[in-house]
Subunit: 367 residues, 2 copies
């Protein structure tokens, strides 16, 4: 039920298809994040309408609220949130290390306190798999520690090695392999030998897909690119590669350029709620006074529902007045922008002009 | 361009059509409120999809933010918010007396301070008309003082008489009569002789429609019904009658029963944001624990998008997690519920079984 099909390469950029129990995903793909069983402010129908084929769910959040047992009883996450496309769930690790309180990491797993009510919880690799099995996602992620940046070599090594032992335990604990594919996560911070060692260990365990974790956590972009340059070629050609937590247009393009097939990030919906739109020339802080009388759409080149129907002046008013519709309209645009960017990237790979596409993108786009 | 067409009566209940420059409105009608140039959480397309033909805009809010001059420059409120159906604007009076600070009422008009930034403003009947002309609504309301409840006779009399003098000034100041119909507002609190006197004064000025103001402001429902029973028969048959600020299902039914054609209220969207749904049996406080595992739709009898696609369990989760989609789904349902209620009421009047409809409604519905 799960297979990666490599269709074409253009340099290192890959055009492919990911076959899942909930449909075929065209790669490279940007995956909107639905943290709490909803991509913030959007309906599943709207996600479909902008071309989303796969979305994320956050295991940490769903475990705490409403609880994975409840979601299992509701028929799984697809049924619970009325989304019949594919779903990828993270393992909860990232949020345990970024959101939760009073963490205590041991070989067995992690004890932490909920950021919602302070209640104590313990998650092991086995528990993470149990939760992800209950959620019923098409792609599950191994339980890992995402080391912070900066991170000294010794900590990075210890953390990566623990994560690799956890990866084996995750694979051993996962039985529902027909319907749910479990991905391994490469760690090792910014240290090449650790990254190499991590890849070796994961390949030894053998997963249907590999993610690169611990990037886009505050390091300079050149550092991220260097790590991708080094790590991606170590991964097998016939498996999908996923760069976790990456969502700015330049990061997407640079990831694809280095052979990445999948990316996700909360960025498009998070900045939307603050009134910032991603556009072909960079970004627009709609809240700014300069847009008060601006009758143009957010992005002059965009065909999304927001850009076809609303002016910057109106959206600015909504944002300033704290209206939900402002967050909705910009979220829809930003997600469309990234999904459409990936669509254009796929076209360019197909037509063997990805490098040209990349060059033309940067001509217009300012960080 | 503006005309009320009385099609049929069933008792005092009236089936009619209101012809406006932005389409024909089937009456009796419930009008969703779009306070700040947006019906909270909804797109205009969604409003269309649930059958909304006319929405409200709040003059006080739009005058303060983004400003009526800006909206005029954007081509008026219809164009600004991308709504091509009809719009009714209130005069700002109600909010000046309920939201603004440091009000000072004089014969000439009202000085007040903005609830947003404390800035001082002066609105006279002429200014209110100027603002409503800039907004370009299909139906404008006269500038009035909505007396509070309870209110002693002397204050109610003084206030009503001032409002009647303001009504004449509003009519004198309004020139765009081809495109915008100006309604008079009956005041007089709970005093029949004042209500009667108010109606006489308004009929003397002559308006294309009449609203009953100063009800649903805290008085017992029997008192409101008594005032409607007394006041509505004084109004001309060939003009639409509007009961302001009324939005609970029983109030809608009782208003129609007494010959009212139009109602509006923020209730359906406001309670939606708190997680309360209006349903055929009364209401559902979705947040409550009893719905945690409830796989039924909000309303078992409802055909709206929300009820066709989402469970109470999921919506409860969204509400508890503070997700925008929760407010969206319940807002859409609640507005659909009231718009559909009015549609069913119209059907029943057409088929001369309104009394039966009313009776059957109350059999199921609990306050």
């Amino acid at each position: 039920m799960f297979e990666y099909e490599l269709i074409k390469k253009d340099g290192n950029a890959r055009l492919g298809k990911l076959h899942t129990p909930h449909g075929v995903i065209d790669t490279p793909v940007f995956m909107p994040v639905g943290t709490q069983a909803t991509v913030k402010s959007m309906t599943p129908d709207e996600l479909k309408s902008i071309g989303a084929q796969i979305i994320l769910g956050n295991t940490y959040h769903l475990y705490l609220r409403p609880g994975h047992e409840l979601i299992r009883e509701m028929g799984g996450l697809h049924s619970f949130m009325n989304w019949d496309g594919a779903i990828l769930t993270d393992s909860g690790g990232f949020q345990i290390f970024s959101l939760a309180k009073l963490r205590d990491i041991k070989e067995e797993g992690v004890t932490f306190h909920s950021h919602i009510d302070g209640s104590a919880h313990f998650i092991s690799p086995e528990k993470a798999i149990e939760i992800e099995n209950a959620l019923g996602s098409d792609i599950m992620m191994c339980f890992d520690e995402c080391a912070p940046y900066p991170c000294d070599y010794d900590y990075a090594k210890k953390s990566m090695e623990l994560t690799m032992r956890w990866a084996r335990r995750c694979k051993d604990a996962h039985n529902n392999t027909e319907k749910q594919a479990l991905f391994g996560i490469v760690q090792g911070s910014v240290y090449k030998d650790l990254r190499e060692d991590s890849v070796k260990k994961l390949l030894d365990i053998d997963f249907p897909g590999y993610a690169i974790g611990g990037l886009s956590v505050g390091e300079p972009s050149e550092m991220m690119y260097e790590m991708l340059d080094f790590t991606v070629p170590l991964l097998p050609e016939n498996k999908p590669r996923y760069n976790m937590g990456v969502g700015s247009p330049d990061y997407l393009i640079e990831s694809v350029y280095r052979g990445i097939d999948m990316c996700d990030c909360v960025l498009p919906t998070r900045i939307a709620r603050n009134g910032t739109a991603m556009v072909s020339t960079g970004k627009i802080v709609v809240r700014n006074a300069e847009y008060a009388y601006d009758t143009r759409p957010l992005d002059l080149e965009c065909d999304c529902y927001t850009c076809k129907n609303y002016t910057r002046a109106y959206i600015r008013h909504l944002v300033k007045a704290g209206e939900i519709l402002g967050a909705r309209l910009i979220s829809l645009h930003n997600l469309y922008f990234l999904i459409n960017l990936m669509k254009n990237i796929r076209e360019s790979i197909k037509e063997e002009r990805f490098l040209q596409f990349r060059e033309e993108f940067y001509k217009k786009w300012k960080k």
